[in-house]
């Protein structure tokens, strides 16, 4: 009951954040230099045509009124029409969303899969060979630029070894997974390196905590001490860090989707900016914002489960 209350409060707190984001998204496009009508109709369009277009799109109204129109259409789930693809932005986003969502999910999965065990191992073997090796790897992972890692993985596993496809994401679910493994790993390498270092340091701290000593004095088996007493406590700060990494991986899709020619929202956003497809820019950014809010909510919920000391006040 208390937990449900907490979650509800978190959701309510998000409303003002979302409203501010909405204003920023709207302002972003309307304060940009360059005239939408000109961009759509071309520089050679006649003034009457431009004026007619502006009247039709409501561009001649004051900004506040335009914002109201914008919110009203959002409530009808009308995100406008893409000038580039000539189709409703909502349909466009829906078709692109799954690529980015699946890519980010897989990248998160790999981040945890690599980061948690290696970080734990390094912390448990502090200053020993395993720790030194893992720390060196993590430093390497942090130092390599994502686009370079992407290209190298592509070259080795896609071109040389032909294990994975290097562009597009096919038709079946198997194709999707095969197509997304390399870009997901590309994204995960950096994030996992961050997680490794964090988990390692937390494990080092927690291992010397009195309660771990006390747990040993109870005669508990090492596996139980590792899971319930060390890892449970060491993971709490990592959850926050992981959620920050996931959010920044969402941003990273802009790069990675372009390297691997994936038709996701990152690639969509880049294309839309290039073509001044404002409705698409607005729509994509809005979805990204919703995703970030959603990830934050999930993080808070996980956090409140992991750490009973967390309450809202």
């Amino acid at each position: 009951m208390e937990k449900l209350n907490y979650i509800l409060k978190r959701i309510l707190q998000m409303i003002p954040v979302f409203l501010i984001a909405l204003i920023l998204v709207f302002a972003l496009v309307h304060l940009l230099p360059g005239d939408t009508a000109l961009a759509v109709l071309g520089a050679k369009a006649k003034p009457e045509v431009i004026a007619a277009y502006r009247a039709k799109m409501g561009l001649d109204k004051p900004l506040i009124v335009q914002f109201w129109y914008y919110v009203k259409s959002l409530l009808r789930l009308d995100l406008g029409t893409s000038t580039q693809y000539n189709m409703p932005v909502l349909d466009l986003l829906l078709s692109r969303f799954q690529v980015t969502a699946l890519l980010t999910l897989m990248a998160t999965f790999f981040t945890v899969l690599i980061g948690l065990p290696l970080g734990y191992l390094a912390g448990a073997k502090k200053d020993r060979a395993a720790d030194q090796g893992i720390r060196a790897l993590a430093l390497l992972g942090l130092s390599l630029p994502t686009f370079w890692v992407g290209l190298m993985l592509m070259l080795i596993f896609g071109v040389r070894l032909r294990w994975f496809s290097i562009s597009g994401w096919g038709k079946t679910w198997q194709d999707h997974f095969r197509g997304l493994i390399l870009p997901a790993v590309t994204q995960a390498l950096f994030a996992a390196s961050v997680i490794i270092r964090n988990v390692r340091n937390n494990v080092v701290d927690v291992r010397s905590a009195d309660y771990v000593d006390y747990a040993r004095s109870k005669g508990l088996p090492p596996g139980r001490i590792a899971s319930m007493h060390i890892l449970r406590n060491a993971m709490i700060p990592t959850v926050t860090l992981l959620s920050i990494r996931i959010i920044s991986m969402l941003g990273g899709t802009v790069v990675v989707e372009n390297i691997y020619s994936l038709q996701g929202m990152g690639a969509l956003l880049v294309g839309a900016v290039e073509h001044r497809d404002y409705a698409v820019v607005q729509g994509t950014v809005l979805v990204f914002i919703l995703l970030v809010l959603f990830i934050n909510l999930v993080t808070d919920i996980i956090y409140s489960i992991l750490d009973p000391r967390i309450t809202l006040d």
Binding site: D213, A215, R216, S217, K218, G219, H229, R232
Partner: protein, 322 residues
Amino acid sequence: MENILEVRNLKMYYCGRRETVRAVDDVSFSVRAGETFGIVGESGCGKSTVCRTLVQMQPAPGKILGGQVIYRGKDLTSLSEKEVRAYRGTEIGMIFQNPMTSLNPVMKIRDQIFESLKGRGLTKKEMLDQAVSLLRLVDIPDPEKRVSEYVHQFSGGMRQRAMIAITLAARPKLLIADEPTTALDVTIQNQIISLIARLKKELGMSVIVITHDLGVVNEMCSRVAVMYAGRIVETAATRELFDSPAHPYTKGLIASLPRGDGSGDSLKPIPGAPPSLAGEFPGCAFADRCPHATDRCRTERPELRPAGPEHFAACHLTGGNA
């Protein structure tokens, strides 16, 4: 009375790359079944380390280099890590100094008690009943509700009680209380002391109390060992120790206590500081601070020798003019 524990010539050194620290240096003592035995000494004298070494829980890079720990006829130093684990908790239980940090903050008290109850074939319901009655045993009010709470919802004294309940859940026959009252308010200290004394009697345990506080020794212990620089310098029945201390260090400790008789005499601290335990010193560890030290004290290590009925002291001058 038979001994539940006999420690014979136990040596535990920290073997670092550059130096060896003699944290526990040839320590012998015994604990009788049903008694409360005190180990007293200042910080860093090795009193906690001795007790951790009993169940091979000495901090890294500590190594047991000699001696025996005979617990009910079995030498615990000869056991593997896995074998000795069977003795931790269920045979020899511990409570730690700092109740604020010694309990897991993300586990309910209930679940920390369940860990000690596992392997006894109880159902969930029975375990919960046990947990509640354990909290009741240590005088935690409203145990049905509190058993499902977390540590941060407990005050310091209540945490110490909860830790005692968790340790007792495994029904240890020997309880090691490592500075059980040091982190607590004075009013709470007395409650915890009488709680441990009561539980000892009710459950028929033997207890080792580790403390720097002679007042705690006086209240709880039937016999006591005084440790200094990794060695035991004197051991005696508590009354005997207070009435006729034989080792100059013990005398110094007792003299440094406030008299509490309003005489206004100032406290008498022992001058100097304990020696570093790194490296070897051939003589008496206390020689440099001892007002009576002779050349022999600096070159020859004194053994524990009788200084009265069941009273031993490691001092060359015992029985002489010391």
